[in-house]
């Protein structure tokens, strides 16, 4: 699946997007955040407060308990500040 990062999540991870293949036991958004956090210092810093991070699956806002199976694109970002 493709992963996109925005705003300070992007800066902390050090990437704007990448393609990942998480193992089968990574079932939910919350699992994915834990799995990504273990990939390196930048990821751990970006996801240090998972409760702050917002997630979109295929460009729709979702909650941490949402299953990721079948999603083509997941995006992580801070709370929105547009307008």
């Amino acid at each position: 699946m493709k992963v996109k990062y925005f705003a300070w999540v992007r800066e902390r991870v050090g990437l704007d997007e990448e393609t990942i293949e998480p193992p089968a036991e990574v079932a939910t958004v919350s699992d994915l955040i834990s799995w990504l956090s273990a990939r390196g210092e930048g990821y751990a810093f970006a996801f240090e407060k998972p409760g702050v991070i917002r997630t979109a699956l295929d460009r729709t806002h979702v909650r941490p308990e949402t299953p990721i199976a079948g999603a083509r694109e997941v995006a992580f970002f801070p709370p929105m500040t547009g307008g």
Partner: protein, 155 residues
């Protein structure tokens, strides 16, 4: 009649008068146009802000605004909607966002414009970074923006 909805995300500035003229041209059923424009402030409290840079999630930002525009069309008898959101670097005094809501009468236009702005601030994937004398920092979201959006919720 299908309500014309225009949604644009762009680097370039916009002209409010031209946008209003574009939705009212050739129509005699529009009795009210409410416009909201968001403008870059030169200070946040006591701290001067030299510039703002806006980032967005291309595709999702348009989708989110489109979904809320469709909801506004369902909820109020609006006859045209325009939403323009700029991205990139803006200086104090520059335009950031424009919402236009047209209707036969003013109540629907006021309500739809306010609804759209509240939802846009809480849900549309845009992020602001401020440049100040001591460096740059991402603007933090306010709980009050979520509360403003929540008051339109019907459940």
């Amino acid at each position: 009649m299908t309500v014309p909805v225009t949604i644009r995300i762009q680097d370039a500035d916009f002209d409010i008068a031209a946008e209003i003229a574009a939705i009212t041209a050739g129509r005699t059923d529009i009795g009210a146009v409410v416009s909201f424009s968001g403008i870059c402030r030169g200070a946040e409290g006591d701290d001067a802000v030299a510039a703002l840079t806006l980032e967005h999630y291309p595709g999702m930002a348009e989708d989110e605004i489109g979904r809320h525009a469709a909801e506004a069309v369902k909820r109020w008898p609006v006859t045209a909607l325009t939403i323009v959101h700029r991205v990139g670097r803006m200086l104090p005094g520059d335009n950031i966002v424009l919402v236009l809501a047209a209707s036969s009468h003013r109540q629907a236009a006021f309500a739809a414009a306010e609804f759209l702005m509240d939802y846009l601030k809480a849900n549309a994937p845009f992020w602001k970074r401020e440049e100040r004398a001591d460096g740059t920092r991402w603007v933090e979201a306010h709980d009050r923006d979520d509360a403003a959006a929540a008051r339109w919720s019907k459940d």
